[in-house]
Structure formats: structure tokens, C-alpha cells
């Protein structure tokens, strides 16, 4: 995993000559590299393990509602806090709802919010990174300062603020996390772009009088996809983590959604009475999902390191 403030290792490219042939060869090289990487991924143990775990939860997110034994929202408060039994595999929570059903269906919301937020962050971050990395000079300086200012903002506090201002919902969560994660991604992208822009194919493109947006998105972008993908997978883990945390504090996904963070927040008050099950199972769910995503991120990072 990479540090939050540090750029991920850039994908390696060969420095070629300025001839068109070399440029063409460069593109071919890239294609070959992709094939190699995919093969590496397929063999990476952590990638596989991670994919299995995440795959399981994705299935739960998609099919969960159809498969679970009980309605995750159906309350029965007189039968609250019953310990795990044949009837309720994971027991019931404070309102008498079946914990097993809630854990399974809880995958959906988090698997909508976190990936969308990360995609938003990646798109914003990439755009920012491309611009600051390519232009340097005043643009870079000004934007970078602003980006650094954003970096300094603590995510959870900002998430709280936005939730108070706009009302907690999936959308506010996505936007907040997306916007707040973008700066870090932009730093990674910027670092990669800094290297790329010195390469011959960029100069070649400029000589051909290609317009800047094309240079940025057409030429440079495909070559920094490596670090971007790595960043994406890394940030995804964090996004899940932060979303669960905000829901725990009551400023994330609103009730009565079977969100895991919310379940822990609702039920941890009674844990000292020996009612451990409504807290343990959602926690395990969060943990396994984040581990799974991190394993994937690891595999991807290794594949791109070669």
C-alpha cells in the first residue's frame, strides 16, 4: 500500500528515439505490457484471494435481497436481542431484526457509495494531476497550494459538516468522500505526469501541433493509467473505511438502511450486557471487505511495479 501523501510508483516506460517508428513501437510496448500485467495478476495470490472476498460481497449486494431468510427491515421489538439460533443465524438486533439478513443486504449500500466516491475522486484527481503536472509554473503553484489546503482538512470532520449542511444521504457521502480524496490522487498523478512529460512522445506530439487537451488525455493519460489504477484500488479501501466511520457517527447512510457502520453504532451500547452478535457480525463484514479490497490493491500494485 502506498502512503497517503506519496505518489504510487509510476509505470515504467522505455525512452525511445523521436522517430515515428519508435512512437509506434512505444504503443505496441504498452499493449504488451498490459497483457503481461494481466497474466501477473492472474497468478498473484493476493489478487485472487482479494477478488474472492470482494466477489462474495458483490454477489451479496446484487442478489442479497432475494436470498436472505428474513426481511432486513422487519422489526419485532418484543423479540429483540435474541442470541444466534436456528431461527436467526446471527441473532436479532435491538429492534428484533434478523442480523444475518441485515449483514448480507448491507453490502449493497457500501458497494454503491464507496466505488462511486472513489471513481469521482479518481476522475477529479486525475484531471487535477494532469493539469498541475503538465503545465507547471503559476498554474501548478496556485492549484497545488489549494490542493494542499484541501489535503490538510480532516476527512471525517468535513464529512460531518457536509452531512449537517445538506442532510445525510448516499449522495452527500459520495460527493464528500469523492472531493476529499481527489487531492491525494492528484498528487500521485502529478508525479507520474512530471516524468512522462519529459518523454519523447510528448515532444513529438507537440511538434505535430496537437492541441493540449489531446496531449493530456490522448497521449499522457494512457501512460499514467498504471498509477491511477493502483491509486483507485488503494483509495477504495479507505473510502469503505471512511464511509463506515461516518455512518457510525450518524452522518453517513441514514437509517433504516442495513449499513454495517450504522448497525454497530446502533447496537454497541448494549454490548456490556453480553449482546455481542449485532456488533460482531457487521464489524467482520466491514473488515473482510476492506481486507479483500486491500489484497486486490496489493496484487495490482505488484503487477504494475514490474
Amino acid at each position: 500500500m502506498t502512503a497517503p501523501g506519496q505518489p504510487a510508483p509510476a509505470g515504467a516506460t522505455e525512452i525511445g528515439t523521436a522517430s515515428p517508428a519508435a512512437v509506434g513501437a512505444h504503443a505496441a510496448d504498452a499493449r504488451v505490457a498490459t497483457k503481461e500485467r494481466l497474466a501477473l495478476l492472474r497468478r498473484s495470490k493476493s489478487f485472487i484471494a482479494g477478488s474472492i472476498i470482494v466477489g462474495f460481497w458483490v454477489l451479496c449486494a446484487i442478489f442479497g435481497e432475494l436470498v436472505v431468510p428474513k426481511d432486513p427491515l422487519a422489526s419485532d421489538p418484543i423479540n429483540d436481542l435474541i442470541s444466534p439460533s436456528g431461527d436467526n443465524w446471527f441473532g436479532t438486533d435491538k429492534l428484533g431484526r434478523d442480523v444475518f439478513s441485515r449483514v448480507i443486504t448491507g453490502a449493497r449500500d457500501i458497494l454503491i457509495v464507496a466505488p462511486l466516491a472513489t471513481i469521482l475522486a479518481t476522475v477529479l484527481g486525475t484531471a487535477l494531476g494532469l493539469v498541475t503536472g503538465y503545465f507547471r509554473g503559476l498554474v501548478d503553484d496556485v492549484l497545488s497550494r489549494i490542493i494542499e489546503a484541501f489535503l490538510a482538512l480532516p476527512v471525517i470532520i468535513m464529512g460531518l459538516l457536509v452531512a449537517v449542511a445538506l442532510g445525510p444521504s448516499k449522495t452527500t457521502l459520495i460527493i464528500t468522500i469523492g472531493v476529499l480524496f481527489a487531492p491525494i490522487i492528484s498528487r500521485t498523478v502529478r508525479a507520474a505526469v512530471l516524468t512522462e512529460r519529459e518523454l519523447e512522445y510528448v515532444a513529438a506530439a507537440r511538434l505535430r501541433n496537437e492541441r493540449t487537451p489531446y496531449v493530456l488525455f490522448g497521449e499522457i493519460l494512457p501512460n499514467v493509467m498504471g498509477p491511477i489504477i493502483v491509486e483507485f484500488t488503494v483509495r477504495l479501501g479507505y473510502a469503505i473505511f471512511v464511509a463506515a466511520g461516518l455512518s457510525f457517527l450518524g452522518f453517513g447512510i441514514p437509517a433504516p438502511a442495513p449499513d454495517w457502520g450504522l448497525q454497530v453504532a446502533d447496537n454497541y451500547g448494549v454490548i456490556s450486557g453480553g449482546f455481542w452478535w449485532p456488533v460482531l457480525f457487521p464489524s467482520l463484514a466491514i473488515a473482510t471487505l476492506v481486507i479483500g479490497v486491500n489484497l486486490i490493491a496489493d496484487g495490482v500494485a505488484s503487477a504494475f511495479e514490474r
Partner: protein, 294 residues
Amino acid sequence: MFLAAQVLPGDVARRVLGPFADQASVDALNHELGTDRPLITQYWDWISHFLTGDLGESIRNRPVSDVLFDPMVASAKLALLAFIIVVPLAIVGGVVAAMNEGTFRDRLISVGGLSATAIPEFVWAVLFILIFALGLGLFPTTAQPPDGASIFTQLKYLLLPSLCLVCTLFGYIARMARAGTIEALDADYTRTAILKGLPQRTVIRRHVLRNSLLPTIAVVATQAGYLIGGLVIIETIFNYQGIGQTLARAATQKDIPVLQSGVLLVGIVYLVATLIADILYSVLNPRVRLGAAE
């Protein structure tokens, strides 16, 4: 930040006095607080005061500096304790893992650390409270020590929440240390040193550690910033009056003066931490010192 807070819905005086107070009272308080003045005036006022160290007054009638100072110190204590525990632990873990690369021990430390980081702080908190505070009765269930407590007592109170932070930080730092160590072990100078016949311990100490520490330092410093955000959860569960809880409360109470100054302060802390990381990095890394800066 100022604008963001202004966007927050709600009338400030109403927040202070509560929904059941009379409207006349609310108007009176609003006038007193100056919230009925134009935005620009308010902002200018605030900036000029801030720069002279006057952070203004919280809507709860206390100077903002008072409101922020104790919690800031409190959070710092917690963070410090966590770092004191986690940094040596993680570095050792990382180095050991690197030296035994690929073995079970390595797997244990790496995967274990990874898993620990993946488990959200609130889960650790609940677990620790359940086992150590309630079950074994060794520690108190909250983190706020009574007044005038000795260092020892304070430690007792702060230990559980620090351990939660340790769990979330360990995996990360260990991983960095491990990666750095592996790289260093592979490097030419290490091989040279071993060929020269130097004992392993010296090799480690003089060459490897120095270089494995580099990325670690960078990580530790940046984690300081991330930590402030993560503190909210731990402080909430352990009923600890740190900067996290204070800012969270300020956000829901729309206590703008506290929020503005508080977030600014947190940001400054983060930037300072990053700066220190940069400095340390260049001090420890001869290549950076000699070569051009980034």
C-alpha cells in the same frame, strides 16, 4: 472554510438558546453576536483577529482559544502515546518481516498488520472496552482521567484508546518499514558491507535501518494529519474531550468561530507535520541532500 460554515443551515442564536426559547430572546442574542452583519464584515473581522492571536468567542460565551486549547492538548497526548507505542513496534515488525521475507513470520506480520488496519477503529474500541475494561476490569471504560491525576493514572486512562490507534496504524507503518528494508537489503552497499565481513547487526544498524526509515518517517508524519480525523470516533466512544469531539460538536452546534479556528489549527498541525517529515527525509537521505529537491 468560512464559506462552508456559513452555508450550514440554521440560525446561530437559535442553536444556542434551543427551540423552545422565545423569538425575542433569539433576536437579542443574534444582535449581540453580530451574526446579522454582512458576511464580508464578519470574515474580515475574523481574519484580522485570528492573525493577532485573538480567536474570538465561541457562541457558548467562552473564548475560542480556551475552547480549543485543552482539547488540542488532550488529543496531542493521545496521539503521542499512540505514536510512542506504534513506531518502534511497527519498525521492528517491518524489519523482522523483511529479514524473513516470504516465511510464515513475514506473512503473519504483513497480513496481520493489514487486517488490523482494515478493522475500523470503532470495532477495536468496542472490543478492547469489552475485554479489558469490563471483562478483566484492568482499565477504565472512558479515557478522561480525573483532575490532577498522576502521570501513571493518566496513562492508565489513555492506554486503551491509544491501543486502538496503534492497531490502525501498525500495519501501514510496518509495511513501509518492510518495503524499505527489503530494498535496502538488496542494495549494493549492503552487499558490499557483508562482503567486507561486517557483522550482521552492524550492517543493519548502520546501513539498512537508515534507509528503511526514510519512507517510514514520511508515512508517520502524514499519518499525523489523518489521525486528527480518525480521532473523532475514538474520542466519541471513550468520552474523551479531544479536538475531534470538540470540532464535531462545533459542527452540529454551528459554532462557527470554534469550527473555523479549529479546522485551521488542525490544518496547520498537518502541514507542520508534513514539513517536519520533509526535513527529516532530507536529513536522513544523503541523495536528496546532494541532488535537486523535488
